[in-house]
């Protein structure tokens, strides 16, 4: 085997999340009443377009989650020796994008470095000039002539390839029947699948064009030590998604258990749980996060020997950030669940179950829990975008993810001071903001659709 799989803590939780989603889908498909709200989601054009964009981010994030140690010197005989470097499948796919580094800043699509350097000519003389990039546009001549035409041609080729991939994928989804595909694309299906399909075309074609171009240029320029900004931004997707989803996942058990128990049992249980979340809630979130992260930093620097690698350490810090963000954000969900459970416990079917002598635990599991799940789902999707945005802010104050982790917050933090340069180094900032904006916008639009579809109060109004 030329690699050794590595499962980091966050990877394991992502797999757990995937498993949960799979179980939910399997369960939902067998119950018509659970399928109903999802039908309303799929009937929404905005929802479909947003979901396609989200799925695209998720695919990249998942590829970046499959980690492994590559084998050192794969051809050599004898026992396999594995490198301590942790790579992901996405790193392998990106290939040259990861390894082809320039020496410092270069603008998007540039063929020359951003700053002048002293270059020694073969005849021994030294000149100050903008050195040629080693990889960016290296297939062009010395001065980068014909760059524009080349960009257009390469971009068009990439887009065409992307469109082909899209067509093949859709055909497979339509069970290889062209007639079905045509009907779907022209929007003559009861559910407007054509919106999702056409959005997918745009996303795939644009990404394929960028991907094709990125093999020949640094399409979003290079950063301070010459790393490709496009690659950085793509790698940051995983961090953003992890913060947005795992935070909710880790806080969910506590919020569910305490919220339902407080509402159902009332009395002293209610008092204790209410006290607990009022106390936590009264500490401003940022300060609690700052205090906890500071403490963790001390712990990590005093116990450095407990972490086998930098990647593992960065990963644990990411997980800890999710945990502490979860601690600060579970209170609102807990309060909502408590209110709903208070309402549910007086309903006829719960009273009847109690009269029959059904145990409290069973009532909670069978009658209360399924009826608060819509609140949980709405909270998950509503919180997602806020958490992605929070990561950037926290990383800016240095209480976010590890500085070694790729994240949009770290990109912004690193590029912020470069705005003072003349001319301005803007591409890292714009790349980070652009990728973040697309994800958050899609998440916001999707969460609105989900809320409208699942909230029974909103449904009655219509």
């Amino acid at each position: 085997m030329s690699f050794q799989p590595v499962i980091l803590w966050t990877d394991a939780l992502v797999y757990l999340l995937l498993l949960l989603i799979a179980v939910t889908i399997w369960h939902t498909r067998r119950h018509e009443h659970l399928l109903q709200p999802w039908r309303r989601v799929s009937a929404s054009r905005t929802g479909q377009a947003a979901l396609v964009v989200l799925l695209f981010y998720v695919i990249i994030g998942l590829l970046d989650t499959l980690h492994f140690n590559p084998r050192v010197d794969p051809g050599a005989p004898g026992d396999a020796v594995y490198s301590t470097e942790v790579l992901s499948v996405f790193d392998v796919i990106a290939g040259p994008l990861r390894t082809e580094r320039e020496t410092t800043y270069s603008a998007p699509f540039a063929t020359h470095l951003f700053s002048k350097k002293t270059v020694y000519r073969p005849d021994g003389s030294a000149v100050r000039e903008y050195p040629r990039l080693r990889y960016g546009g290296s297939h062009l001549d010395e001065h980068g002539n014909g760059k524009l035409a080349d960009i257009v041609a390469k971009g068009a080729l990439g887009a065409l390839q992307g469109a082909l991939v899209w067509l093949v994928l859709l055909l497979v989804l339509c069970l290889m029947q062209p007639a079905r595909l045509l009907r779907l694309l022209s929007g003559r299906t009861p559910t407007p699948w054509h919106v999702g399909a056409w959005t997918a075309l745009v996303v795939v074609a644009v990404f394929a064009a960028l991907w094709e171009l990125s093999e020949h240029y640094h399409i979003l320029g290079t950063g301070k030590v010459g790393e490709d900004v496009f690659f950085q931004a793509l790698k940051s997707i995983r961090t953003g998604l992890i913060i947005g989803t795992l935070t909710t996942l880790v806080m969910l058990p506590a919020a569910l258990l305490l919220g339902i128990m407080a509402g159902y049992f009332r009395g002293w249980v209610d008092d204790v749980i209410q006290y607990l979340y009022t106390t936590l809630n009264s500490i401003p979130g940022v300060l609690l996060i700052a205090a906890a992260i500071l403490m963790m930093q001390i712990y990590m620097s005093n116990h450095a020997e407990q972490f086998s690698s930098l990647t593992e350490r960065a990963d644990l810090r990411l997980l800890f950030l999710c945990l502490i963000l979860g601690v600060t954000s579970w209170t609102s969900l807990c309060r909502l669940l408590r209110g709903e459970a208070l309402k549910l416990r007086e309903l006829d079917y719960v009273v009847a179950a109690r009269a029959f002598g059904v145990a409290d635990f069973r009532i909670l599991l069978r009658h209360v829990l399924p009826n608060v799940m819509h609140i949980v789902l709405i909270t998950i999707v509503l919180d997602f975008s806020g958490l992605v945005l929070a990561e950037a802010v926290l990383s800016y104050i240095n209480i976010g993810v590890d500085p070694a982790t790729n994240s949009w917050g770290n990109m912004i933090n690193g590029a912020r001071l470069e705005l003072a340069r003349e001319p301005v180094v803007w591409w890292s900032l714009i790349a980070a903001f652009g990728f973040m904006f697309t994800l958050v916008l899609a998440a916001n639009l999707f969460s609105d659709v989900v809320r409208d579809a699942f909230d029974p109060r909103l449904r009655q109004q219509r």
Partner: protein, 325 residues
């Protein structure tokens, strides 16, 4: 009413005790004062003597909970718990880790925070209500639709972008006002304009959308239908009836954040170099000055609880149907 307020203040006590206990555990039990000293003095190769000296300087050399070496009540008072944690209850914040008086710093630095936060809140409120009324007036039209789309778009932009973009555009390209800094007295306005504008623009998206929902909820009520039925024009209905009633949730939502204005915004203040409590906290975080962070956590909790109390009181004033007893 007075009895209610007193009862609420008494309720606040256990919560503050909880906050205090939490910070105590976080700052002194998770990591011992030894760890903190080592962190401050830098790394592993620190002599035990240096650690002892640092702890003595900062008053961390006492036992955590019970001081066995002392007599009588001093057994309990001459401890870290009492000296560093319980004293917060009387707002005695003590000294920061680099020897400054925290209470004095706070009383100095809350004014710049207020100078930025209050105008931001007021202008933001006016702007958001205006836009939300406009969207509600033209509801279910293209203006409304695109207004909401723009709101969602603006909500999706990181607050960092507004700040960096604002500094770059107004401060650097147009050269209208200084990018960052602060001045006392009349000249402060030059430094206040940009943070306030950025703060207001950053809040338009979520604010307008939220207020629009409130207005639309109110528009569906029966009394609005009656007002229309008796022949009132639409803008009279909107201003005289809808706006007034929707102001109740809006104002109570504002009252909650009023005490928190003292603390100011961490991001805005550190980006614009305003010497308020927000940047004070940020500096403390980056200098790892735990005494200040601890003080700010406690202060934040107190202000939050005051905010909740004020909210309940403001309900009775704004909405005569609510009675507290």
């Amino acid at each position: 009413m007075t009895a209610y307020i007193i009862r609420r203040l008494l309720y606040a006590l256990p919560i503050l005790i909880g906050v205090n206990a939490l910070t105590f555990v976080l700052f002194f039990v998770v990591n011992s004062p030894d760890d903190m000293a080592r962190m401050h003095l830098g790394g592993k190769r620190v002599t035990d003597q240096a650690i002892l000296a640092w702890k003595e300087d900062h008053g961390y050399d006492k036992p955590l909970l019970i001081n066995q070496s002392r007599e009588g009540s001093a057994q309990l008072t001459d401890t870290i718990l009492f000296e560093k944690s319980l004293r917060l209850f009387v707002f005695d914040f003590g000294q920061s880790d680099n020897g400054r008086d925290i209470s004095h710093d706070i009383s100095q630095r809350m004014w710049p925070s207020l100078a930025i936060a209050v105008p931001t809140l007021l202008v933001g409120l006016a702007v958001n209500i205006t836009f939300a009324l406009l969207l509600a007036f033209f509801r279910a039209s293209y203006l409304d639709f695109w207004g909401v789309v723009i709101c969602v778009g603006m909500m999706s932009i990181s607050s960092l972008f507004y700040i960096i973009g604002g500094q770059f555009l107004v401060g650097k390209l147009l050269n209208l006002v200084p990018i960052s800094g602060y001045d006392t007295g009349v000249h402060a306005w030059k430094f206040m304009v940009l943070p306030v504008i950025v703060g207001v623009i950053g809040g338009i998206g979520s604010g307008t959308r939220w207020y629009r929902t409130l207005f639309l909820e109110e528009i569906q009520r029966d009394y609005v239908r009656s007002a229309r039925a008796k022949g009132l024009s639409e803008h009279l209905v909107l201003f005289r009836h809808v706006l007034r009633n929707a102001l109740i949730p809006i104002l109570t939502g504002v009252v909650v954040v009023l005490p928190m204005l003292f603390i100011g915004s961490l991001l805005t203040e550190s980006f614009f170099g305003i010497p308020g409590l927000g940047s004070y906290t940020i500096e403390a975080i980056s200098n790892q000055d735990f005494a200040i962070v601890r003080a700010m956590v406690f202060l934040g909790a107190v202000l939050y609880i005051i905010g909740l109390l004020l909210t309940d009181i403001s309900y009775t004033i704004a909405d005569p149907r609510v009675r507290l007893d």
